[in-house]
């Protein structure tokens, strides 16, 4: 086993050797650290705590290549109806200005990251995929809302995977300066593709008293794998929302790290995952409370069908200085099939004494009493079940502030026959 995965890694690195990284010139020290780490790191195995339930053999056994593409891709299917957004389109991890919006409103800047951009250094060498990303990042863009500017139009970033076996490694920097407001939607989709691996990193920094919202809509192709790292630093009195919707994709891993760097911060983390057939969806989240008077509120829900598998690992740290913290975490799962499985683990580490923290984790079937009640009123069994599943999922989707985005996600789920019409 060891030798075959090692050779897979060497094969991949050998093949990528001549590719420059979109990050290394701007962040040479991190590139160096990552390159060094890569000599040791390899495709994760289930012996690693963070990868205990997520096998990466599907990822290591393919011959991925970096594939810039000039394909002309129609965006209609991927737009969000009723949402007037600034579109930033990427194909195979490369930004495509020709497919993207050209009018950028005042107060918003979009361009290459600057050397002083806040980086999350620890995560660069977190594992093989993060180091691989740093060393061979395909393209990077920084999106910044300037001080006191509320950007009325949301930004819709479309990461498109296209063709056979592309390795996409896009990197986004999101930033709200003091008192600014910005909403970003990131869609992961697949167009005329067979298999793809997208290894994306989104780093964000919400400045003092700013508001940053990021909504992930993961609609990867049936055979695609997605690794999405979201690394955020939030400053005092800022409001941060992140929504993660995993709708399709064969193998998905989301890591979400949120550092609360000041007092008075409100952070909301919501997520849904609906693995079915043989899908595997893994969410690892970490909220790090470092200062007093912050609140974090996390709600992740899963509906599992067929042989679907899900992993939820939610870490919450409340550091010794983080008095008066409110930290809530809830993970709930509904199993629609005996063959589905879920591994859920809340990990609260609390070092401050004057805090309100709670976590809950439930896994169960739909309420049979409720199903009987609905059937006794004339609803068919399938509809009764779907009505209950819909109610379960809507509790999360109702937390989306944007009506068009909520409608869109609901429609996607209906199309997948996961919600009731």
């Amino acid at each position: 086993m060891e030798t075959t995965t090692a050779s897979k890694k060497d094969q991949l690195l050998g093949q990528l050797r001549t590719r420059p990284s979109a990050l290394s010139e701007t962040f040479p020290e991190l590139a160096l650290a990552a390159r060094e780490a890569l000599t040791e790191l390899d495709f994760p195995t289930t012996r690693q705590e963070n990868w205990k339930y997520s096998r990466t053999t599907k990822l290591s056994s393919e011959e991925w290549t970096i594939q810039p593409s000039e394909a002309n891709i129609s965006l209609n299917e991927w737009r969000i109806p009723g949402l007037d957004a600034i579109e930033l389109v990427w194909v195979n991890g490369f930004f495509r200005a020709d497919l993207s919006s050209t009018e950028i409103p005042a107060g918003l800047s979009i361009g290459k990251p600057a050397p002083h951009t806040i980086r999350h250094k620890e995560e660069v060498t977190m594992d093989f995929f993060s180091a691989l990303h740093e060393v061979h990042c395909t393209d990077a863009l920084a999106i910044r809302a300037e001080k006191s500017k509320k950007i009325e139009k949301p930004v819709h970033v479309l990461f498109i995977q296209h063709g056979a076996l592309p390795l996409s490694q896009p990197h986004l920097f999101l930033e709200t300066a003091e008192l600014a407001e910005l909403e970003v939607i990131v869609s992961f989709v697949s167009v005329d593709g067979e298999k793809a691996l997208c290894n994306a990193v989104i780093e964000g920094n919400a400045g003092k008293s700013s508001k940053l919202t990021c909504t992930l809509i993961e609609r990867e192709g049936e055979q695609n794998a997605l690794i999405c790292r979201s690394l955020y630093s939030i400053e005092r009195d800022a409001v941060f929302h992140i929504h993660t919707h995993t709708i399709s994709g064969n193998w998905v891993r989301n890591d979400l790290h949120i550092r609360l760097n000041g007092t008075g911060i409100n952070a909301f983390l919501n997520g849904i995952y609906l693995p079915r057939e043989s899908q595997h969806i893994d969410n690892h989240t970490l909220v790090d409370h470092r200062h007093p008077h912050c609140e974090s509120n996390e709600l992740y829900k899963g509906v599992l069908n067929d042989r679907g598998r899900a992993v939820f690992n939610g870490k919450v740290y409340v550091q010794i200085d983080a008095q008066k913290t409110n930290a809530y975490q809830n993970n709930a799962n509904i199993m629609l099939s005996d063959d589905a499985s879920v591994y859920t683990k809340p990990e609260l580490e609390i070092y401050a004494d004057d805090v309100k923290c709670s976590h809950g984790s439930t896994t169960g079937q739909l309420d049979e009493q409720a199903i009987f009640y609905l059937r006794a009123r004339g609803l068919g069994e399938d509809n009764a079940r779907r009505l209950l599943t819909t109610a379960f999922i809507l509790e999360v989707l109702d937390r989306l502030e944007s009506e068009p985005v909520k409608e869109y996600v609901v429609e996607l789920l209906k199309k997948e026959d996961l919600l009731l019409d």
């Binding site: 309420d367 009493q369 409720a370 009987f372 059937r375 006794a376 009123r377 609803l379 109610a391 509790e395």
Partner: protein, 251 residues
Amino acid sequence: MLSIHNLHAQIEQNEILRGLNLEVKPGEVHAIMGPNGSGKSTLASVLAGREEYAITAGEVTFQGKDLLEMAPEIRAREGIFLAFQYPVEIPGVSNINFLKAAVNEVRTHRGLPALTAKEFLQLVNEKSALVELDGRLANRSVNEGFSGGEKKRNEIFQMAMLEPTLAILDETDSGLDIDALRIVANGVNAMRSPQRSFVVITHYQRLLDYIVPDFVHVLYKGRIVKSGTKELALELEEKGYDWIKEEAATA
């Protein structure tokens, strides 16, 4: 309309109904009384199609059809309604949306066109007024956060919306004060017709002052051991069940 013959039903190997017979004709109101645990709710559940019960013997026909062969939703669409003794709370499912789906399923089954949004709302207004159900409750999640009385009124409201041919009310009066009882009874009485029948399960004669039954039956140990007219309910109220139990023991 409903004909139950020698019905035996068990749950988890316990035989609860042990040879029950009952005949309900169109337009009749039958009251079923009996001590706790005698099998009244079991009978109601079996008629509504709850799948946990195993029917080990007997037949039930409803309007000439074999009821026991039908799925619960088919029974509902055919015209059977059960007002639950303990209505289920369903968080996140709106009372009104679910009822709209239910009403239209039932209508489709009966060969009627689906109601338009406007017609449906009209019906909601009319029927919720009938049981004096606060219009706001209609928009909340099914039974969630409803008081005991509100839950029971919501059951009668749903019954009025679905217009069944046979309604089984399982202790709809329990936990109601006199005013609420009167409201519920008025709702039921407004629905009485020569085509519609009721099976009213209750512990209290009081309800039967308002909903006057044609027949009163005593269910004991899974069997109907005594039947009579409304005077039987008065007698039970006065004397309790001991004499019935003795009669049953010697029979």
